[in-house]
Symmetry: C2
Subunit: 398 residues, 2 copies
């Protein structure tokens, strides 16, 4: 009675495994600024709960496996805002972007197959690929170049014979890197040459700051047969707990394969789909407001973090994460210290040690990911706590 090798080889989520220590600190009376998880404090638009409260059927019944029509139509309308034309058959609703990725990897990966993606990357990709008996081939990037990776030479250098797909998260988690449409074309050409699937995770689509424009692989019809979009209501609409996402693709064979898997797990929750439909029907005004909110938080977070002595970080272009290299040896050890020993006026801070975001051994040990999901003032205070924490941690170690 052993566990499977894939699970034995897995780690606990670096984003979540310190939660017990965070709860303990709170029980001990500390205030903990939680920058470890992409859980914004932005209110979920009221239309979500309103739609659910108005649901008047007496039986909470199964939905169709590919999603309820009301939600499919709202997703079509939403994508239409960007000139991405879809029909219902191009969409399968999932339990968040997480299940979307699991289903896609299960549908395309044989044991030993690999997906290439820029590291650092959202750590749960390892988990989803591992479950599908696949692996990640890293495209190694650096903070110094702003985590740039859409470069033909770099891509050619990274690909392996068993690479079957290329994963792209843009705007990026954890780097905040935003691909332009021209960069997407470079990636698209590379994928075409090597006959790769393009899995494009666009859950932060609108969160592209400064003068950056919304860009999507869905806007490039020349790659439509190989493009698989991953989406979710979690970030765009601050509805992480709704667990509604979707897979969008015009490749019929892929969608048939995914549908078989989706039928096996029956459906996504019916009520949440009704709420999510209301969210997807929100228009550009909502996106502009949300973007402005996070841009202000980014500005506050970056301004403070980048001024901490010895910290290396780049101003992220999108999403709501910031990678920072700290003047310490182990960010895991530092986080333990912050949660168990440190406090300033009864407050401390959580972040994510970044080692789990790298595939290449040894990388990321002294880096952290910060989610700028709290109000600007709180972000400033959280950054101050990191600064004070580094000082006292170094003093203790010295």
């Amino acid at each position: 009675m052993k566990l499977s090798e894939r699970v034995a080889a897995m780690q606990f989520s670096p984003i979540r495994k310190f939660n017990p220590l965070g709860f303990k600190a709170e029980e001990d009376g500390k205030t903990v600024y939680r920058l470890n998880i992409g859980q914004p404090d932005v209110e979920t638009p009221a239309c979500f709960m309103d739609a659910i409260k108005n649901f008047d059927k007496k039986v909470i019944a199964y939905a169709e496996s590919s999603g309820v029509n009301e939600l499919l139509d709202a997703i079509i309308k939403y994508n239409g805002l960007y000139g991405i034309e879809l029909n219902r058959e191009n969409i399968i609703v999932t339990n968040g972007g997480s299940e979307a990725l699991s289903l896609v990897f299960t549908a395309i990966m044989n044991p030993g197959d690999a997906a290439m993606m820029a590291e650092p990357y959202y750590t749960n990709y390892s988990s989803f690929l591992n479950q599908a008996n696949g692996t990640i081939v890293p495209i190694t990037t650096t903070a110094e170049t702003g985590y740039a990776w859409a470069d033909k030479e770099l891509l050619e250098k990274s690909i392996t014979p068993n690479t079957k797909a290329l994963c792209c998260i843009s705007p990026g988690n954890p780097t905040g890197r935003v691909l332009t449409l021209d960069e997407m074309k470079i990636v698209g050409e590379f994928a075409k040459e090597h006959d790769l699937w393009i899995i494009s995770d666009e859950v932060y689509r609108e969160f592209a700051y400064d003068d950056r424009k919304v860009a999507s692989f869905g806007m490039l019809p020349e790659y439509a047969d190989r493009v698989i979009l991953i989406d979710s209501v979690s970030k765009r609409f601050s509805a992480c707990g709704a667990r509604i996402g979707c897979i969008v693709s015009k490749n019929r064979e892929l969608m048939d394969g995914v549908l078989k898997l989706a039928q096996g797990r029956l459906c996504s929750p019916t009520l949440e789909q009704v709420g999510a439909a209301a969210l997807y029907n929100l228009g550009p005004d909502y996106f502009a407001e949300a973007k402005a909110t996070y841009e202000a938080r980014r500005n506050a977070a970056y301004e403070e973090i980048s001024q901490i002595p010895g910290v290396v970080c780049q101003k992220p272009g999108g999403a709501f994460y910031l990678m920072a290299k700290l003047p310490i040896e182990s960010s895991e050890d530092f986080l333990m210290y912050m949660l168990t020993e440190f406090e300033d006026k009864g407050e401390t801070v959580m972040f994510t040690p970044a080692e789990g975001f790298y595939r290449t051994p040894g990388m990321g040990k002294n880096e952290i990911r910060i989610a700028y999901v709290l109000e600007a003032d709180k972000m400033r205070r959280a950054a101050e706590l990191i600064k004070l924490g580094i000082e006292s941690y170094k003093a203790k170690k010295a």
Copy 2:
């Protein structure tokens, strides 16, 4: 750009793949009695929606990966009714029983490993195992013996060297077979001798009719280290669309492994967990009422179906399914006929062709599964439609 071998080898769900024909028949103005899917017309208890409507947080946030405490505590209380003592660490909340099974198989199966289970079995087990690169070893049963399988000799004959787990659905889907606690002990001893996990799917736990008692592997502490209970609110509380289930086990290593997977997909939907907590807090009165409802439907369905000339079927002891062997060659072809050609007073009926419930090639071709999920009168009418359908189908074929 091919799909994975496991997905290419999969079939569309036999329970769901005829849905488009069913919708078409309805669009053409026919009334379709849907006995193909375990979707009862019983009202979801009002406490479910009430709890959700009373949810007053402004942000629909992620829950903990293992579930919200309110729900964990309600699951503990519910199991306590049967003398099954649990604590929060023994439970992980999932997206329905479906995800519970997927996570468990992913956690214990290496490629090539097998789980043994009585056939006919709920067809989605193939799907979940396939995704985990595992297979099913069938314990072949027959209608003539009431699908009995908890027999040491039969189990010894069926096991293979790569069998790692034994799956038990009791009360059974699709056969309605209910194991007694003594039969569970036979299975438990066998599993112990061969060092197998016991995966016990108890989503129909209370639906054991006549003089049968509720029995659970959770009541047998001598096997606690190898028992994994699968549960769900779908059937017991007629809340299929809520997609809330759970994994229950006292094996710490297993729960740690499952938690790693659960962290990867973040959490089950927050609101639905709040609603599900209210459901699990319902007491024995509710279960008695629900059981009486389905028992009456079973009686009606069995009475009518068993009287159709040439039909072989046994009175099911539990759950809400009935297997029937029809006097035709192909139940798939017959269902196509029922949905596209047949009608009586503008009405027809859907059921599930049972071939997909068998692992052994050639079995089940002329069998169907009927879900007795509609009111007794409707079940009688649906049975009449099957009878009329068989007559006109045979006349057409002759």
